[in-house]
């Protein structure tokens, strides 16, 4: 719709107030969590003063740092694997129709349809049956699965928006298929690839359920560590670690969206 919202004709009762409530509801917990992570008071949620102490405490916690390191190793590995597979798949899917296309499409987004808990236990049973020891490797293998669609969708969208005549034009101007890919497709596709990779990274970094079931001793990721801390109790350190995770996600997603909006 293209309407002037200030025109009284388009003012429906309760719309604006509900929308305001919606955004307050959406952001209140986030704002409160970040604010409390700077709260000096250890016990209550009452504001007694600003401090960075909890961040210092959290960042000097070796267990947490090891968990963070695991998370980053998993996220980078899964992102690289998923992005390569997704880029190839998007290119294969982009040129016209073929037999079995619907099936391939469904397969590529299957990880988005299956409930996380089902994926988690099915993968767990699979690794157990294969006799693969649960650890960082199994977590990486499992993360790659659900990272593929997240990388695939933005890349596919960008290819879809690309004039197919551009590759033909490159071919027409004496570029063979590889040169056409390197000189035309890839430069035009990279914002999609980068954006997809960043989304994969963040989805992997944030994953809890699948890591929780598929991981083993020594593969504790940051979300699993946070889960353990929350179970013990609400502490300012948890606030600080949680706030850091929140901020990393928000920064990454914002950058990813900005990259994805790059147009020539």
């Amino acid at each position: 719709m293209k309407v002037d919202a200030s025109n009284p004709l388009w003012r429906f009762r309760g719309i604006t107030s509900t929308a305001m409530f919606f955004f307050a509801y959406l952001y209140l917990p986030i704002v409160v969590l970040i604010a409390l992570s700077f709260n000096e008071n250890r016990l209550a949620t009452i504001w007694t003063g600003f401090t960075m102490d909890w961040y210092v405490t959290a960042l000097s916690n070796d267990d947490m740092l090891r968990a963070a390191q695991n998370s980053i190793v998993v996220a980078i590995s899964a992102t690289v694997l998923a992005t390569i597979a997704a880029t190839l798949a998007a290119m294969g899917m982009s040129r016209g129709r073929f037999k079995g296309e619907a099936g391939v499409s469904a397969m590529l987004v299957l990880p988005l349809l299956v409930p996380e808990i089902v994926t988690a236990i099915a993968t767990l049973l699979f690794f157990v049956a294969l006799g693969i020891k649960l650890g960082l490797l199994t977590v990486i293998l499992a993360h790659t699965v659900f990272c593929i669609p997240f990388a695939y969708l933005p890349i596919r969208a960008r290819l879809e928006g690309m004039d197919p005549a551009l590759v033909e034009a490159a071919n027409d101007l004496y570029a063979n298929d590889w040169k056409a890919f390197r000189r035309v497709t890839l430069p035009l596709l990279w914002p999609g690839i980068l954006s997809g990779a960043m989304l994969s990274f963040i989805i992997s970094l944030d994953d809890f359920v699948i890591s929780y079931f598929v991981g083993g001793a020594g593969s504790t990721t940051l979300p699993i560590y946070i889960f353990g801390m929350i179970r013990i109790g609400i502490t300012p350190e948890v606030n600080a670690v949680s706030a850091m995770m929140l901020i990393v996600s928000i920064v990454f997603v914002s950058i990813s969206f900005m990259i994805d909006r790059i147009r020539y």
């Binding site: 073929f98 037999k99 988690a120 606030n239 996600s249």
Partner: protein
């Protein structure tokens, strides 16, 4: 087939498809297989020994005399999951539709920003989001504190670890999935259709109910499915905000791989959940994909 093998495109899509096939499709089939196996004495399963115990124990249990007795514990958890998911979908719709409508009437640049704001929480860690609600809802937490400060002595809000808390958390978690598809269908809506309704004497209430809502129906249906289905499989929210006391399907499944050590039952429940999800998707695509999207 020979034709496909020779084409370049086959080799391009192959890595992703084979990977997902091997690490997702095969495990799902294997899960279905495990669900009809015998439970191992010390956890795990007896490979090759078949048993329908997992599905029988879903409804019945054996009493001391080895007779089958109806046990509604698991059914209750399923009923609760459906109830909470339905409630969450309704809440999300009540909040999501007006918001989507509000966004669709804003100028273009503002719309993009607002949609971005809607999606951001989705990308943040689900534990952290639910944990933030624990800070708000617990006794002595922010909401309790504000109520006390306003002079409404609550003597403890006692809302954390109740189904209400779970419902609030679920709505929060899946709300963006409601707004986005509804916004997409409202954005495509031709505003002149609404003006035509006004011109033909419809007041705002009837323009909304007779023109806008019917045209946004595909988006509302998509949004409801996108909220209901992941809700049904929610694990983290009942775990944290329900304090483990108000299990949903996913928690029940998870517990079979933890303390309960009943893998066939866990696999069977997982298979049932997966089937429910796929059936709802099929019903949805059967019912709504054939509807005319827009009067273009």
């Amino acid at each position: 087939m020979g034709n496909i093998l020779r084409s370049k495109r086959f080799w391009l899509v192959a890595p992703a498809v084979v990977y997902i096939g091997f690490f997702m499709a095969v495990p799902l089939f294997q899960m279905a297989y495990v669900s009809i196996l015998e439970r191992g004495d010390y956890g795990g399963v007896n490979w090759g020994a078949f048993s329908m115990d997992a599905y029988i124990s879903f409804i019945f249990e054996r009493d001391l005399m080895d007779n089958l007795v109806v046990n509604t514990d698991y059914l209750q958890i399923f009923a609760r999951s459906f109830g909470l998911s339905a409630m969450t979908t309704v809440f999300a719709l009540l909040l999501g539709f007006p918001t989507a409508f509000y966004i669709s009437t804003q100028p273009q640049s503002r719309r993009n920003f607002l949609i971005f704001l809607v999606t951001i929480p989705f990308w943040t860690n689900i534990l952290v989001r639910n944990y933030a609600w624990m800070l708000l809802l617990r006794n002595g937490g922010l909401i309790d504190g504000v109520l006390n400060w306003m002079g409404l002595e609550t003597g403890g809000l006692d809302i954390l670890y109740t189904p209400y808390a779970v419902s609030i958390g679920l709505t929060y978690t899946y709300l963006p999935f409601m707004v986005l598809p509804i916004y997409a269908s409202l954005e495509k809506l031709d505003h002149r259709l609404v003006e035509a309704a006004f011109d033909l004497g419809a007041d705002k209430r009837r323009a909304m109910s007779r023109v806008i809502l019917p045209l946004a129906a595909p988006g509302i249906a998509a949004g409801s499915i996108l909220v209901f289905i992941p809700c049904l499989g929610a694990y983290v929210t009942p775990e944290l905000l329900g304090g483990g006391k108000f299990m949903m399907i996913a928690n029940l499944i998870g517990s079979q791989f933890g303390a309960a050590r009943n893998w066939p039952l866990g696999a069977g429940l997982g298979f049932v959940l997966l089937a429910l999800v796929l059936i709802s998707m099929m019903i949805y695509s059967f019912k709504f994909k054939s509807l005319p999207e827009e009067s273009r």
